[in-house]
């Protein structure tokens, strides 16, 4: 190592303009350092793109291929407007959880930025995608690009066969339910293109017969159900609304079920990202900071490179206070970066406080602790486990209780001895998808009557559904084909019907 260092006295050039040779040279060094820290990644594929292509990528939810839908056009227009007016910069990179891991680098970046981005995306995010349990469970990096390709081809086939309008309406409805298409407690099956293709046809034929279960009229069945007066369907409430519709909606055509499935699968792919923002961004930020600094210590980087690098880095991890006009909540980059840095500090230079709060990790090997934390946690549990009093003090965290029955807000805890645990608990809960998003269940289908579907919102802390729910119910009704009811179960046990939508199938067929 030391011999090597001697040889490499000459720093890498850092001109404003990047070249392919330089990117390659920087990548070699970053790769070497990343390996020395033991980062385990998918192979990298670095793609240089223009700002326009970046906006394209933005609008198709960051995916290299995607099916066509007007909503992507809308987000393109939005991005374009913001960018042209200078209201927002584009991200310097987009990284895709695939194998090989694709990182998009913008053409406009300077050489310094390209190096930062390579360290951030191609090593930070990449290793997180490969290691974290949520990504390992919910996504399949080997198959995602193939699956998206399959989805796009399948949907354009459907458009040819059934008309763009028809497919668009269906996708609208599916998108409305994209966030409720996940079984939080079940693991999804792995995806693969060939399997998908062969199974898709089988499924199409097979499913239709399964569905008939809803209205089977064989006499034997009738007697049975009459005997059990209150037979419920589904037997237990279900939280995965899209899955339930895919399997059970009585009037969907086989191809429509397949489309529902595609949207569900893609929605599921983003499920881990929604739950690991702080960890993932913090991790990537921590690693670009560490890798670049290591290279600087080796004498490979010029001072001007470091000045520009630090400028960008500090912008990324800037955290405004609650009373500043540009406060937009906690900055996941800032919080994540601070927490990972703090974990290393606890490992390497623990104080008495750390030993009291983190007896397991204080003084342990930081690389092993990092690896453990990165693999086995999501935001909610990561904060509950690793947020230290020091970080809470540094951020001057405080919790506000807002009860709409009370006239005033209440400060429930602050960054002091009495409040550490409370603040940490509340912050962790703020990142808990379960309490952040409404708890909805497929409650019942009226098998014996009008086949209406009942959804139930289990209210928690009196939090109501937003008005948009009414619109979503319309979409559910379109998919279900019959009436859909939305109830709310209050915590005191009252059940109240919020919305009811009737669907006249014949009407929509005409449209």
């Amino acid at each position: 190592m030391s011999a090597k260092r001697q040889k490499r006295k000459q720093p890498l050039p850092a001109p404003g303009e990047w070249t392919f040779e330089l990117i390659e040279a920087y990548h070699v060094e970053i790769d070497r350092v990343a390996r020395s820290y033991g980062l385990d990644t998918y192979p990298n594929q670095i793609e240089l793109i223009t700002s326009e292509q970046m906006m394209d990528a933005y609008s198709s939810v960051g995916m290299p291929v995607n099916y066509h839908h007007w909503s992507f056009g809308k987000s393109f227009l939005q991005t374009e407007k913001g960018y042209r007016r200078g209201q927002m910069g584009l991200a310097y990179e987009i990284v895709i959880n695939s194998n090989p891991c694709i990182a998009y680098l913008m053409e406009e970046n300077t050489m310094t930025m390209q190096a930062l981005v390579i360290a951030h995306a191609a090593y930070g995010h990449n290793s997180f995608f490969k290691g974290n349990y949520l990504f390992r469970q919910w996504t399949n990096a080997d198959a995602i690009v193939d699956y998206l390709l399959f989805a796009r081809n399948y949907l354009s086939e459907c458009e040819e066969r059934y008309g763009e309008e028809e497919v668009e309406l269906l996708l609208d409805s599916c998108h409305a339910l994209m966030n409720v298409g996940v079984d939080r407690y079940k693991r999804p099956a792995k995806l693969s293109l060939t399997k998908e293709l062969t199974r898709q046809r089988e499924r199409a034929e097979y499913l239709q017969s399964q569905v008939n279960d809803l209205w089977r009229t064989l006499p034997t069945q009738q007697i049975k159900t009459q005997a059990v007066e209150t037979r419920r369907f589904p037997p237990e409430p279900q939280e995965n609304l899209l899955y339930f519709i895919e399997k059970n909606a009585p009037l969907l055509e086989p191809w429509q079920r397949e489309v529902v499935r595609i949207v569900r699968k893609i929605g599921q792919y983003f499920f881990p990202q929604r739950q690991t923002q702080v960890m993932n961004e913090g991790w990537a930020t921590y690693w670009h900071y560490t890798l670049i600094n290591t290279l600087f210590d080796e004498g490979l980087l010029t001072d001007s490179f470091m000045m520009e690098f630090l400028h960008s880095h500090t912008n990324v991890v800037y955290q405004p206070a609650y009373n500043e006009p540009w406060y937009r909540g906690l900055n996941p980059y800032a919080l994540g970066f601070a927490m990972w840095q703090d974990i290393r500090r606890i490992c390497e230079h623990p104080t008495d406080e750390d030993r009291y709060w983190f007896p397991d990790i204080a003084g342990s090997n930081w690389r092993e602790t990092f690896d453990f934390a990165m693999r086995n946690f999501k935001d909610e549990s990561f904060i509950a486990q690793f947020l230290s009093p020091k970080v809470m003090r540094d951020f001057r965290l405080f919790a506000i209780l807002d009860d709409d029955h009370e006239g005033k807000l209440k400060v429930s805890a602050i960054h002091d001895e009495a409040g550490y645990r409370k603040v940490r608990e509340i912050l962790s809960d703020n990142y808990n998808l379960g309490s952040r998003e409404p708890n909805l269940q497929v409650w019942n289908v009226d098998l014996r009557g009008d086949r209406s579907l009942t959804l139930r919102h289990q209210a928690y802390l009196r939090r109501p559904l937003s008005d948009a729910a009414d619109e979503v119910i319309k979409h559910v009704a379109r998919l279900w084909g019959f009436a859909v009811k939305m109830e709310v179960a209050h915590e005191d046990g009252r059940i109240e019907v919020l919305y009811e939508r009737h669907q006249d199938r014949r009407k929509t067929d005409k449209n």
């Binding site: 223009t50 809308k74 703020n430």
Partner: protein, 422 residues
């Protein structure tokens, strides 16, 4: 290990399809926005794109979220004054305090409109959607009005002005060489014989004298070959290639008499703007003739046309006369597509209206692609309208419409220039 790929030159408009779909889906709203935009703009702005705003509720993508209310406990940063147990007033409005804002943003519904920009092309496409000029195809393709001269090699005859000197002289040289060659051969032969004879014989030997005579004759023959002959001449050839007309002239005639108030003028202006814009889509070069009239007609520039104030009685025929004059003087050389648009409140001097109809019918309409008359009046049609009505059946290129106010313009315009399937 690493693959670095340059994607910058890959196909650019990956999202073009999605953008089109977006436009198609919100065509209704976009059309409305475009129509609104026209109403509130001046003629020069119309050449630009337009930012279109669509109420955000129309294009929301609803999802299940929490609404406002209930109990929320949220962590904030930068505590500068609170200790636990403090009671704080709820911050009013969105700004300032910040605390308690976290939950409000959860429902994800901004009230603002969604604004985006149409390019000029998209703007005009929406605007002229399913409109087309009447008889357009006929004029542009079938009726050839203009020719373009183009070179097409050389010919044997033509006017002296077109003589191609190089070609002609080259031909002459060739001809001279060809015609002289038998004499030249004989000449060389004779000279050789003389040279041989002179070695043995004296200068005045009869044989030598005979040969010298023959050489003299040959020389005379060679010189007799003309330096240039009429069939050597070559002329530059030019042929006429038919060229579809791409220019148009548009006559705007407006009544500026006392009865035309500012509102009516503004309405007329919009109408002319639209016509002008529409013609720019079809023709490369457009001239506009502005004629305003009260009792006397006058050709003016655009500024004066729309903005100067006049008053007095109305004699419409004065303007029609002037249009006829200008038309016949400047635009009847076959190179122009002529369009006319007249705006008036229809309140003409009673005895003048039949005269107007007469003029239009005989001296103007036969030369025009299209003549549109709009009457801007809140009430019953006036006398000019009744006269013009007689023209409608007789002339396919005459159209008239009644406009009450600004919002009527767009539909009327569409009505006037509706696709004619003929």
């Amino acid at each position: 290990m690493v693959r670095i790929i340059d994607r910058r030159f890959d196909s650019k408009n990956k999202s073009a399809v999605n953008r089109q779909r977006f436009m198609r889906r919100f065509k209704g709203q976009i059309r409305e926005a475009v129509a609104d935009a026209i109403a509130g703009r001046s003629i020069k702005d119309l050449d630009n794109g337009e930012s279109v705003s669509i109420p955000s509720k129309d294009l929301s993508e609803p999802q299940f979220h929490h609404g406002k209310g209930g109990i929320w406990e949220t962590v904030f940063t930068g505590n500068d004054q609170f200790s636990s147990g403090d009671q704080i007033n709820r911050p009013q409005g969105g700004g300032g305090g910040g605390s308690g804002k976290g939950k409000a943003s959860k429902d994800g519904e901004g009230e603002d409109d969604f604004v985006f920009n149409l390019s000029r092309e998209e703007f005009l496409d929406v605007f002229f959607d399913d409109l087309a000029l009447p008889n357009l195809v006929k004029t542009q393709l079938a009726r050839i009005q203009e020719y373009k001269n183009q070179r097409a090699g050389f010919t044997n005859d033509g006017t002296p002005a077109n003589i191609n000197v190089v070609r002609s002289l080259r031909g002459a040289l060739g001809r001279r060489l060809a015609l002289a060659s038998p004499y030249q051969g004989r000449l060389r032969e004779l000279q050789k014989q003389i040279a041989e004879l002179l070695e043995t014989r004296p200068e005045d030997d009869p044989e030598i004298i005979r040969l010298k005579d023959e050489i003299g004759i040959l020389r005379a023959k060679i010189e007799a070959i003309p330096f240039i002959d009429s069939f050597d001449l070559r002329y530059n050839n030019r042929i006429k290639i038919p060229k579809p007309t791409t220019q148009a002239v548009m006559f705007c005639i407006m009544d500026v008499s006392g009865s035309m108030d500012e509102g009516k003028k503004a309405t007329a202006k919009r109408f002319f703007m639209l016509l002008y814009l529409f013609l720019t889509r079809t023709y490369e070069h457009i001239e506009v003739v502005f004629i305003r009239h009260h009792t006397v007609a006058k050709e003016v520039n655009e500024e004066d046309f729309f903005h100067s104030r006049e008053s007095g009685g109305t004699v419409v025929s004065s303007a029609i006369e002037l249009m006829k004059e200008i038309l016949h003087q400047r635009y009847l050389n076959g190179a122009w597509n002529v369009y006319g648009a007249q705006a008036s409140d229809g309140d003409n001097w009673e005895n003048d209206s039949p005269h107007c109809r007469e003029l239009l019918s005989t001296a103007i309409l036969p030369f025009l692609q299209y003549f549109a008359y709009i009457e801007i009046t809140p009430g019953e049609p006036q006398n000019l309208w009744r006269e013009y009505e007689k023209l409608v059946g007789a002339h396919a290129n005459f159209a008239m419409q009644h406009i009450e106010g600004l919002p009527d313009i767009y539909p009327v315009f569409r009505e006037l220039f509706k696709k004619k399937l003929a």
